[in-house]
């Protein structure tokens, strides 16, 4: 299996652990990742809210480059994935849009290749059996809340999993020997950029998710989106300072980190040491160090 790899801005900066662990998992699963040459911003947040056509054209340029190489794209970031998928569907379903996009990008994108999220490639396509057979360590029943966020499985009819109760990450956790807790906030909003722009509005959303995960008995949260990860991981300290009685110490992982560790990689290599919330104690508890 070979994919054009689209890291987007996050995986080279705030979400570098996602990049590190994705590369490791890809290596173990035999998925070859070739970074799209000269890729540009996917346009998330700013692009599509400014101009609809711009929102379609920015990801279409990246897809056009991948199409030249004949490769489907793997985009680990949920936002990149969502933007590219939107563009892919728009171009595939309308000749007029296709022509407009081609005019703006000055490149042909025919819709022959599409985009997949890392969760789709590493879990759905690789298959739970392959994951089980590659695992050399067991998560030992660690209670984990799988958190998908708002973009990964939406909109209805386009996503790769159920939009209200997705299960792909839960299945992965179970396959690796963890216990996926049943909780109702799998697809809640993490606040995206609100914790920066309107702090208390955004922080409340993060607070609600963390509280719900804890009350469901989770010892850790696993996610597949760099922005969700950042909000859930980095804001815990903020919340502990600003909210009475808040004392969160809930480790947050990328699903690829847990996969890589279970596949026998040293935790340090996967990026878990870079997190704001300490991950070592929960990993130690389950002999995953």
């Amino acid at each position: 299996m070979k994919y054009a790899y689209y890291p987007g801005c996050s995986l080279h900066s705030t979400g570098i652990e996602y990049d590190m662990s994705s590369q490791l998992v890809a290596g173990k699963l035999g998925v070859e990742l070739k970074e799209i040459p000269d890729w540009n911003c996917c346009g998330a947040s700013a692009g599509h809210t400014t101009n609809h056509l711009l929102g379609l054209a920015l990801p279409a340029r990246n897809l056009a480059i991948a199409e030249k190489e004949g490769l489907d794209v793997m985009a680990p970031c949920a936002s990149c994935y969502n933007r590219m998928k939107t563009s892919e569907v728009a171009v595939k379903s309308s000749e007029e849009t296709k022509a407009k996009v081609a005019e703006v990008t000055e490149m042909e994108y025919e819709g022959k290749v599409g985009v997949k999220s890392a969760l789709e490639v590493f879990v759905k396509e690789a298959g739970l059996d392959a994951i089980k057979s590659l695992a050399v360590k067991n998560l030992g029943g660690m209670k984990i809340a799988a958190y998908y966020g708002c973009l990964l499985v939406r909109p209805v009819g386009i996503g790769f999993d159920d939009p209200e109760n997705p299960m792909t990450m839960d299945d992965m956790v179970t396959a690796l020997g963890g216990e996926a807790v049943d909780w109702p906030f799998k697809t809640e909003c993490c606040g995206a950029s609100l914790p920066t722009a309107r702090e208390m509005v955004g922080l409340k959303l993060v607070y609600d998710i963390l509280t719900m995960a804890q009350s469901a008995g989770a010892e850790a949260i696993v996610t597949a989106c760099p922005l969700c990860f950042m909000n859930l991981d980095m804001r815990q300290n903020d919340l502990n300072k600003k909210v009475d009685n808040a004392n969160f110490q809930l480790p947050v992982f990328y699903f690829t980190e847990l996969m890589a560790i279970a596949f026998g990689e040293k935790p340090a290599k996967t990026g878990v040491r870079k997190h704001f919330v300490d991950t070592s104690s929960v990993l130690a508890k389950y002999n995953l160090k």
Binding site: V156, D162, P163, E164, N165, P184, F185, M212, S215
Partner: protein
Amino acid sequence: MRRTGVFVCHCGSNIAGTVDVERVAKEAAKFPNVVFATDYKYMCSEPGQQVIKDAIKEHNLDRVVVASCSPRMHEPTFRRCLESAGMNPYLFEMANIREHCSWVHPDKEKGTIKSIDLVRKAAAKVVKDEPLQKSSIGITKRALVIGGGIAGIQVALDIADAGFPVTIVEKEPTIGGRMAQIDKTFPTLDCSACILTPKMVDASQHPNIEILSYSEVEKVEGYVGNFDITIRKKARSVDMSKCTGCGTCWEKCPTKVDSEFDMQLGKRKAIYTPFPQAVPNKPVIDRVNCTKFRTGKCGICQKVCPTGAVDYEQQDELITEKYGAIVVATGFNQFDHSVYGEYGYGKYPDVITGLHFERLINASGPTMGKIKRPSDHKIPETVVFIKCVGSRDEAKGKSYCSRTCCMYTAKHATLVHEKIPGSKSYIFYMDVRTPGKGYEEFYKRTAEEYEAQYIRGRVSKVYQKGDKLVVRGEDSLIGRPVEIEADMVVLANAMVAREDAGDLARTLGISYDKDNFFTEAHPKLRPVETHTAGVFLAGACQGPKDIPDSVAQAGAAASKAIGLLSKTQMESDAIVSNVDESRCSGCMICKGICPYKAIDAKLITERVGGKMAERQVAAVNKSLCQGCGACTVACRAGCLNLLGFTNEQILAEVEAVCL
């Protein structure tokens, strides 16, 4: 040389708006055999028909073509018109230049040309028309009602009161249907059972009504006035003639099963009647769950039965009976809301449906009429109602409005207020629709006096938080998200067709719509008839309906059935199949094809080489033939012809249009 008159209708602007009717008439006048052609604003009107009658006299017409609408509505009108002018009514053709032309083509020039062609076709056929004569058939003066809910019971009572025998076939062990499950009825809040059970008893005691409960229609043959219907009487495992309904068996039965009647909220026994007022009040054994049938052991019910009525060996029984009319009143089901992830895919026990709520509030229900939520039997203080679950939702449910939910939700909120002091109800709605006598007033009272809080908006998520259900939605009037911590959530699920409605429709040969509701013959003018003669509709099997509407429709369906049954003879159409005996080889392939058993072999005597000889040929019973034409295409020699649509007539049409 025939003398044909052509009459082109404007149908107001329906046709004349997109077809140059005057030009059509002018062109028609040039067709062979046409001696007169004219146009008129409304051909079907009294003066319009007079135009035809006058022209028949003045121009000595012997053939008539009317170019107007579909023959479905007005062919009988014009045939009567010809008859009253002294002509045979079958020397007539209709060119459909409305549904087939003006309504579907916006281009006037092209529409006009097509209309001329359609008239040319009809004019070519009409000269080949021959005078035909109607025949008549006897009628079996007996009606079958499928479904024993309130609609079916009302139909049966009305027909029986008119003096005709009626059979109700009900697939459940008792009649009563959905109305029996309901606690109170809007807008008067009278007890559903109190007004239903007397009717059930009336039906069971009426000398003209026979109730076949725990039975289903298996096969329908025949035609209007003479249906042959095969009914499967499912094995009850109880001999109805011996059972007295004393109840000892179900008291002693050790096996408890979730009760379907109580929406799985309560229990019943394996030998059971669904509810205390069941009619007939005689039990059935649920063989799937009965210990005797599962393991061979037990047999308690047989031991305790004082009359020896329990019969484990009983088999399904098939009976075939003759009926003149059929009324379908099979009712509805509730929409399955497990497709709604936002309401928890049906996994939260305290998210219930309207029918569950009816059972919870019913004095003979599983909680003796106390509103207790299913999970922990706590009495809820805050109840959230969500309307339009599956209704008006093309993405996940049905496109239509279920009509009853606004009212029954208002009723539920009223009952919560009355039964639980200090409680609070919230109702999420899209629109409040209350078209019915006293309905709007009832809703107003719910909102104003009973303090139910109506919130205009959809619910985006229901989730469990501790022992509460958090309902998150939008109040679209103030444009803000709202969150309510509720103890129980009641969904107003859409009314949908029975899951086997399509099968029954195929058995009966009636049509059904995209949502599996049975289709009426005309949405306004023939609301209780189907396109199949002799089959009528009543109640929610035709579309969502409340009790008053179901009863009204039942009365209408009954009067149509009575109208049919009150005749002794029924005229059958003259458009029937005809055998050319000189060419028929008597192979009788047609006999097997005919769905109406209208073809049989007969012997004819003819002169062959100077001697008389006997030979077998096919013969059509003109009373039984329904003119479907199946035999005409099956005949290898082409010696069967459908009168009115003979090969010669059809070819004349083809030639007129294509050559």
